[in-house]
Amino acid sequence: MKSSLHIPGLIGNINLVIDPLSAFFILIISIMSVLGIVYSIGYIKPYLNKNKSIFSHYLFLIILIISMLLVTVVQNALAFLIVWELMSLSSFFLVIFESEKKEVLSAGINYLITMHVSVLFLIAGFIMLSSTSGSYDFASFEGHVTNIPFILLFIGFGIKAGFVPFHTWLPKAHPAAPSHVSGLMSGIMIKTGIYGILRTLSWIPNPSKDIAYFVLAISVISALFGVLYAIAQHDLKKLLAYHSIENIGIIGMGIGIGMLGLAYDNDLIAILGFSGGILHILNHAIFKQLLFFAAGAVYNKTHTRNIEKLGGLVKSMPATSALFLTGSVAITGLPPLNGFISEFLIYLGLLNGLSIKNSSILIVFVISIAALALVGTMAMLCFTKAYGVVFLGVPRGQKAALVKNDVTKIMLIPMAVLASLTFIIGLFPQYVVKLLMIPVSVFVNTETFIMMDPYITILRTVSLSGLGFIMLFGLIYGLRTLMLRNKRVYNHNTWGCGYHAINNRMQYTASSYADLFLSFFKPFFSVNYGDIFEYYLINPVLKFNKKVIECFYWIQSGNTQQYILYGLIFLIFAIIYTVGTK
């Protein structure tokens, strides 16, 4: 679908095109936005009487959604930048909803500046492209994308998406925003960065091997880094934010594999990689939004995000707890939920890549397989921690103990919809993957789609095994219940190994749960499990910048004489220059 809009002046023709790729993103954005808005109705209630401008909040929410939709259809570099900035700006206002908190404001500023840096990279990339193609129209960029503009655009979009080391805004902005906004941001807004990368790729008929390896490497690092840091977090939303980095890394791995497939002329790998990556976009949107919503529900009831103060919520908030569990299983990539399917496709792409007779591919792909497996197990560690500490056991603090009932239906329904989506995609992947071929067709020749047929069959098997698993579980659980039916089942205190005065402070805490694992990864953290990139890369740059700037404070000393001296010096130098260039 294509329509064109002419705006007089600098922009020129703006083509609005809905191609399969845009359509895919529009679908995700629409579904997630609707759910987000429904959820927000319940979430925002406690703020209604707090002298908060709800109207402007919703205004910016609508602007954000519209601009995200526009980002996916606008096919003109200048117009794209405009809607892109509009998106960043409106989301910035959403982030600082609770602006009376200092850390929210500073996170907001950090976010705004980082987004601006991203736009500058995009501007640089688009300028390079448009100067070789001679037009701002996206269609004209095809074939003009060489390595440097690609990397510029990748960094620009990568900042939005949250690839390491451009991720530092993400763990700050997500916790600061209200939960429905974090859900939208993490679920779909950072995906617009992925959209940008995919859109850029659509202009490259055959990506070079260098950039393909670059994308794969940075994605693997992002995935590992994101999950490692997530384990160290005790702020529920920060934990989820780091998981977004991890999942962006997984998506990037899919894309990188697809690019390598194209680079090595192996369409099967390309199809598997791209379909895995693109499916993971959808999957991550679903379960991350689900998790953020559930985290928001917890926050709504307990007013704390510190998981060390939570616990035992499964009794007071059973529905939220079950939904969070679904999300956790899905994000860990376990069957039979949706996260497994996309990771499975990526694994298949990697495995098939081994058939390319090339030693570097072998090493890179095997390491990637191991990395993906490591990411999966680490995610498991992280989410058993999160779920176990937040919902299970006994409350660790007053706030969690005082929760009486679950959140309202209007908050639960969107979560339930999302949870059912994770099941649908996980249990019937063959249909989803067939549909997925439509956006993949943007990158890969459609004639080679026939190569996917065996994999559809495999997915059907996976689907059947998922269903079989559930049935088998039902059988075994039924058997167990049957066995227990006429037996005596006692309720008793937890077995304290002989110690009888067990209290809630003797539970295993989140930090002790993660400590064993983290203690082996100390070198990857800065002080107190802080972000190493921020500590060793960004902070020194900022400090240096500040120092350099402080060196120039003498300029505006307030002394008139000194001011005139500047003019004199400038004049003398200029005269010398004049005489010199005679």
């Binding site: 404070y553 505006q556 307030g558 004489q561 005139i564 004199l568």
Partner: protein, 205 residues
């Protein structure tokens, strides 16, 4: 004759750069104005056209009499007679000013050399002296230098522009004088050091 006058004009700059008494500075300024008048008399045919009359008026009335007396009024109202210790010792001011003057003369003899070096010397004068009134005198000195410079091309300046310039300079000195007076009453100090409140040092005061 003209060359002598111009040299004299330049030498007065040097004297000014080491003069501590403000009254003396004002007198020197007035003498400079008078030298400018003489230069005009000697370099132009005496006629009655508007431009020439205007130049005579400007040098003889404004530069020699009005501006110095204006400055003197301010001087007496404020009771400041001496320049305090400048940023650079007078000796070095003299050395630097001399170097400027002689380089100017060597490079571009007379009219141009002296006038441009006057401009630079006066800027230097402003940057080294601390009293506000001395700064205004430096500004007047700058204007004298510029005037000397413009004499070389005086014919080309239309009267309307000349009048505008005259008015501007005059009002500028007038307003500066007023401000000096005001500053003296408000700050109780006529040193420029008092005027350093507006600055940016990055600190939150």
């Amino acid at each position: 004759m003209i060359s002598t006058l111009i040299l004299l004009f330049g030498l007065i700059n040097l004297v000014m750069s080491i003069t501590g008494r403000i009254k003396g500075l004002i007198t020197l300024l007035s003498i400079q104005g008078f030298i400018l008048f003489l230069i005009i008399i000697f370099s132009h045919d005496i006629s009655l056209d508007l431009n020439f009359l205007f130049l005579i008026f400007e040098t003889l009335v404004i530069k020699t009499i009005v501006i110095p007396s204006l400055l003197k009024i301010i001087l007496f109202e404020n009771n400041i007679f001496r320049e305090t210790e400048p940023y650079i010792p007078n000796f070095y001011s003299l050395v630097i000013s001399s170097i400027m003057l002689f380089t100017g003369i060597i490079l571009m003899p007379f009219y141009l050399g002296v006038s441009i070096s006057t401009i630079l010397i006066s800027l230097f004068f402003i940057t080294t002296k601390k009293k506000l009134l001395t700064n205004v005198i430096g500004f007047a000195m700058l204007e004298n230098g510029i005037f000397l410079f413009s004499l070389s091309v005086a014919e080309e300046m239309p009267v309307i522009v000349n009048m505008g310039i005259l008015l501007d300079v005059f009002i500028a000195i007038f307003i500066l004088g007023l401000l000096v007076k005001k500053i003296n009453t408000v700050f109780n100090d006529s040193n420029t050091c008092a005027l350093c409140n507006l600055k940016d040092c990055g600190c939150d005061d």
